[in-house]
Amino acid sequence: MKAPFSPYLQSIAPALKALVAELGRDYDYVSVLSTDSAGFRISISQRAKSVSNQSMTTERGSVVRVYKNGRYSEYAFNEFDPADTAGKAAEIRAALDAQFKLLKAAGQEIYETGKLADEPLTLFVEKETEQLPESADLSSLVDMMTGFSDEGMKTVPGALDVMVAATSTHICKLFLTANRDLRQSYVFTEASAASYAPGKNGDIKFAYEGVSGCGGPEIISGLKAKIDALPKVVTDLTGSEPIVPGEYDIITEPGVTGLIAHEAFGHGVEMDMFVKGRALGAEYIGKRVGSDLVTMHEGARCDESVTAYAFDDEGTLAGDVVEIDRGILRTGICDALAALRLGIAPTGNGKRENFAHKVYTRMTNTVFDSGSDTLEDMIASIENGYLLTGMDSGMEDPKHWGIQCIINRGYEIKDGKLTGKVVSPVIMTGYVPDVLGSVSMASGDRRVDGNGACGKGHKEWVKVADGGPYLKMKARLG
């Protein structure tokens, strides 16, 4: 079935167009983004259960962007009376005028920017889904997830709990300007199974597995395979040891490959950082940043994942950008205002945490291309190293291209064979061009994961997905 576009947004669209026209009398450019995204979150464990109709991406509200005299301003709100667009326009003018009064008193200079283009465009997208979160059979889902938790408690050795969580959201967004009318509706779902058990040093070891994709609550049933995988993961972790720090040959499984794509490189080519002079990547366009085996794509069109939208939060159509082509940095990604300031075309990467937040250049799907090696050959090629599995977290460093990835566990490889020894956790650090330059093998398969969220600095959380094949490289582990 097609995910139907929001009747609420449909109903207020004429009034929002009137609001754009009303504000157009005072401002040279006006856009409005309105959202109406419903969903659920279910959390099941042996200790507590919960159901909520709120998630990181559920929302209903609008944000107006206006432009005049080289300045961009925004006003976000979630109270709207379609019968009083003049009143809302007056409220917006009053709020922004009050801000300008303060800015003028403070002697604030303006970062002058040109006017956004407003070429005529109409788009209506309703993506396919098997189920909708708002009409899903929650009773069956709660029963299924409770069954997963119960099963995990029986099979995971020493488990103190098995936690199963699922979130599904039906995203509906409407973008309007004087000349544009874009509407999209799609559903994404993510689910996870996690367990923890005592380690051998009296600590607690945590294991996590997830599924996700552009689709409805039907995706949650995929957790069964993850529940089946948990016992081995937990056993590996509880028997693990700290790693001896040093530089090693490593193989990254697709989840860790994705973490590197995202943290090591993805943030570094978000081009709003170029505008601020915050990204080293600006100096490397056209230069080598990785080995010939490194090709990386970024864009909402790259994968049918949790972030496979048709247009971004500024009304730019989704893209598929080749950022690195056989080791050479070709370009970055860009929101519309940053693109205007840099004199380039936007790439469809302007995203907001929700309607009430500012647009920044953000990642969507960040994915390394596959190669032609087999995992077996990659393991056989390593004398002393690790197969790294399970991403915990990472932190970007666009200015200096440092890399910090915290990885759940590493499987020791000696003389071309897995020894069975496990280390955890593993902190991977290094300098991005060195790490990517050391990529010497890539597997023929690939996977894209979309669980979790990405911040810009330490805030502004949005959904992203990343992945790629198994990669062999060198890195410092600690």
Partner: protein, 436 residues
Amino acid sequence: MMFDLIRNKLNALGCEAWEMTETNETRWEFYQIGHKLDQNRAVKLSGTEVKVYVKSADGQFLGSALDTISPTATEAEIDAALAKLTYQASLVKNPYYTLTDRPVQTAGADGAGSGSSKDCPVDIAAIAGDFLKVFSSIPESDIRRLNSTEIFVSGICKHFANSRGVECEYIYPSSELEVIVNAKKDGHEVELYRIYHSGKCDSKRLTDDICRVMGFGEDRLSAVPTPKLGSFDVLFSTSDACEIYEYFADKMHADFIVRKISDWKIGKSICPDAKGDLITLRALPSLPNSSKNYPVDREGCEVYDRYLIRGGIAENYCGSRQFSQYLGLEKSSLLTNLEVEGGSKSEAELRSGDYLEIVEFSDFQVDSMGGDIAGEIRLGYLHRGGTVTIVTGGSISGSMNEAMKDMSFSKERVQYDNRLIPAVTLLKGLRVTGVE
């Protein structure tokens, strides 16, 4: 009006219990590139979060479901949302517990105050103006400068009520700043990142800290790669140290106890073989200019002054109504502000001998569940053999479960938003992976 409408409908539902919180927020945001305005934004939001509780037929279980009613919702949409919540709550089976029935006082503390939730008296324009003045007065030079800043100032009005007669309204300011600092010399440029939270603008404290960070930036320009140090003592003297004390606070959460993530028992030592300073941790309803100065937690439970840990002995758990009651605690609340008492030595005494002081990480983390310590070093000062070397790169790792056995912290203290902690904290024997 929306509040009363929803409350009346909840009362008519006939469910076991309910709670609701109406939030009205007005926010001003200013984004600057250098000292030029990138964008200004104003935000006006309202909404009512509603939680419906349903008891199982045998009275053994209580389920709940949560939603936010949009201010644009029609009466029919509210009715449908409440019916849906009632059904969803019936699917959830948690051991029975009750909501709070303790009346609360909402006398304001440092910016928080009572009042009508539609009438938000926080002067966000004045607070935002103070932040703008700070940024325009920071001393800069050819070497050190502000790259970009983001200012967020909110006035937040909350109105809470539940089915057991608890009702309160309170108002508080909340500010967030992102500050990016650059240092540049001889074509080499570095960046430092800070995010600050507070109630209002404390101009002096903010100016002092940004200037200190700029000093770090200049130092980083001359940093050399961190040597491989192996097991080494590490000193924390910035807000990163809050992560260390969060570990102790998390271990005292009722949630962690019920879930068996923590085995710390009331009246028992949290670390029987500790030979360093003993932790004293206190939950407080307010701290000066904290962004978390509110009289009740999100469940309407009064936030009150009590020790979580005193002299290394676990004294009180904190946490949600549900998990606290599972531990037999009738009175509890979620943590808002936290104070850590100073240690036995001065900062100067702790700064003797060999140690690595790290003032910039990529992202310093202490995993509350496993106790793992991790962080990539962006700037550190290696004190060894009477000399100080500025270092960058490499990482530290270790375990709080081990480090807490012999940790030291200073008598002097410093406040970071809602955390008042020792000015310096020394963890011994962490693993330091260098880049040489």
